[in-house]
Amino acid sequence: MTQQTTTGAALELVDVTKSYPGQKSPAVDGLSLSVPAGETVMFVGPSGCGKTTSLKMINRLIEPTSGRLLLDGEDITTKDPTTLRRSIGYVIQGGGLMPHMTVAENVGLVPKLLNWDRGRIASRVDELLDLVGLDPRIYRDRHPRELSGGQQQRVGVARGLAADPPVILMDEPFGAVDPITRQRLQDELMSIQDELQKTIVCVTHDIDEAIKLGDRILILDEGARIAQYDTPERILAAPSEDFVADFIGSGSTLKQLSLLRVGDLELTEPQTCRIGEDVAEVTARVEAAGESSVVILDERDRPREWLFLRTLGRHAVVSEPTTELQTVVDHRSTLSDALDSMLVSSHGGAMVIERDAYIGVITYDAVTEHIRSLRVEAA
């Protein structure tokens, strides 16, 4: 459609209203909004503010009572809703996967509705599973109930992307998973979005998620009245009214941790070693550097474990770690997520990766130092 670098499309809502019979005030009252192509807009607001209703009016799961919707300038209010929905991705809480279909069938749902041929669907499914970090060979033929909550959600995201729609709607996409998984999924979505540049409209009740993911945030009050529509930086720096200030909550310095990326800070580089190295040699090297812990890397430079020497000393050679790592963050993760990860670490820091490869360690001290400097700037 568009000849820009983005694959997204511009979306415009013009005076969109939804009123239900028997209710005094409309659920959405004359919402007008324009979303530039390739941007991520987060809808936030208290429950019952009409954010989900507004979202569902975009793919007309809820028919607007009045108003117009424009997709790249084309009026979609009068289009056949079934056809329309095939060109708009839809990702919902928990994934909303069809329990009786396999992962591949779920992901290939829309392409199949669009009558793609079988080979093209199959290769697209594998490509998307790869993109969301699920090995197609392992997961293709599984059923949703054989997956963890986070994996189901990944499949849900892949399904939303399947037919390469210019616009993707997300309704509380990460609301049903635990905090650590949520953070990972958010990071993955951000890197997917870096690559694809879709137009994403995402509903969330979590202001931190909105700050982290959004190019712009739409803060809605009762009846979907726009309280503020701006970039996260400006919403944090200058809330337009008390309602917004209350909603983003106190400690806006701390909220800015959701805007800063790990890569923005200087990383420290403790000693590293490889699986299979001789423990005595490693110990000597680490002690010579005046340190007490070491990061273990595998043959592809991926961090596998961060151990104290006394734990390492139990074996002759550095062995394959068996536990799953929790204290790894991507260099594009926010400082706020990095702090979460540090909480479960006994080293007061988290290992940082870039494209799966280890690039250093971010420490708690570095983060607190940075907060202090922000405060000084603000004062």
């Binding site: 079934t82 009786h100 279909m101």
Partner: protein, 248 residues
């Protein structure tokens, strides 16, 4: 089919039922082949006579089953569509009153109204077995997670595609349970077909009682019971196959 996922109760029924049916049927055949029967018994229990009655019985059950499924499932689908929802309370009320009606009463009344014969029996039994299939179709379709239906619509499935590819497959196990219940009811009620000259294994029971011949009576009762058990087992096997792999 993953037998490991079956409960102990299911396994008991799945493997126990056919065993019981086979053993009892073999026992009856042995008795029939070896017993020294009187003239009346020998005629009533002649192999081809019994075979003919069994065939009639199965035929009535099958015709009714096809009619019941063919009518009750579409009606159930209709009742669960938003636009026809207003019909549901009326149908539920009628169905509940219908459930309280004794089957023998329904058969006799219909026979008095439209005459004796095969098709009257079919009509009466179809009415009688209608409810479980209808109720289970409605319950099965209502039980489908609304979030999944909305996701399907959000993907761009047409209402018919949502019904065919999402709602029906997910409701199928529940619908099949209703069909099984209906089939078993039909075998039992089929025994009354003889009262209105529509044949079936009930004829043996009736003859046995009228002529006071216990061997005929018990043979009829036994064969009807075995047929019911066999149908129950078939229904359970079908249910297993009808359950989509991702559910169970």
């Amino acid at each position: 089919m993953r037998t490991t996922a079956l409960s102990r109760e299911d396994r008991l029924l799945l493997f126990g039922l056919p065993a019981v049916v086979l053993v009892v049927l073999a026992g009856w055949c042995l008795w029939r082949a070896s017993a020294d029967l009187g003239d009346i018994e020998a005629r009533a229990l002649a192999w081809d006579a019994v075979g003919q009655l069994a065939l009639e019985h199965v035929l009535i059950v099958l015709v009714c089953a096809v009619l019941v499924v063919g009518c009750a499932v579409p009606l159930g689908i209709l009742l669960t569509r938003a636009r026809a929802g207003f019909l549901a309370p009326a149908v539920t009320a009628a169905a509940n009153a219908g459930q309280a009606a004794p089957v023998i009463g329904v058969i006799v009344l219909l026979a008095l109204a439209v005459g004796f014969g095969f098709w009257t029996a079919v009509l009466a039994l179809t009415v009688y077995a209608f409810l479980p299939v209808l109720a289970n179709t409605v319950a099965g379709l209502r039980g489908v997670d609304p979030a999944v239906i909305e996701a399907a619509r959000g993907m761009g499935m047409s209402p018919f595609q949502v019904l065919r590819r999402v709602e029906l497959p997910m409701a199928l196990p529940v619908i099949m349970t209703g069909v099984r219940t209906a089939l078993v009811l039909l075998v039992g009620a089929g025994a009354f077909a003889t009262f209105i000259d529509a044949g079936g294994l009930g004829t043996l029971i009736q003859t046995g009682i009228i002529m006071f011949r216990h061997s005929i009576l018990v043979s009829g009762a036994l064969l009807v019971a075995l047929l019911a058990l066999l149908v129950e087992w078939t229904g359970r096997v079908m249910e297993l196959f009808a359950t989509p792999k991702g559910l169970a």
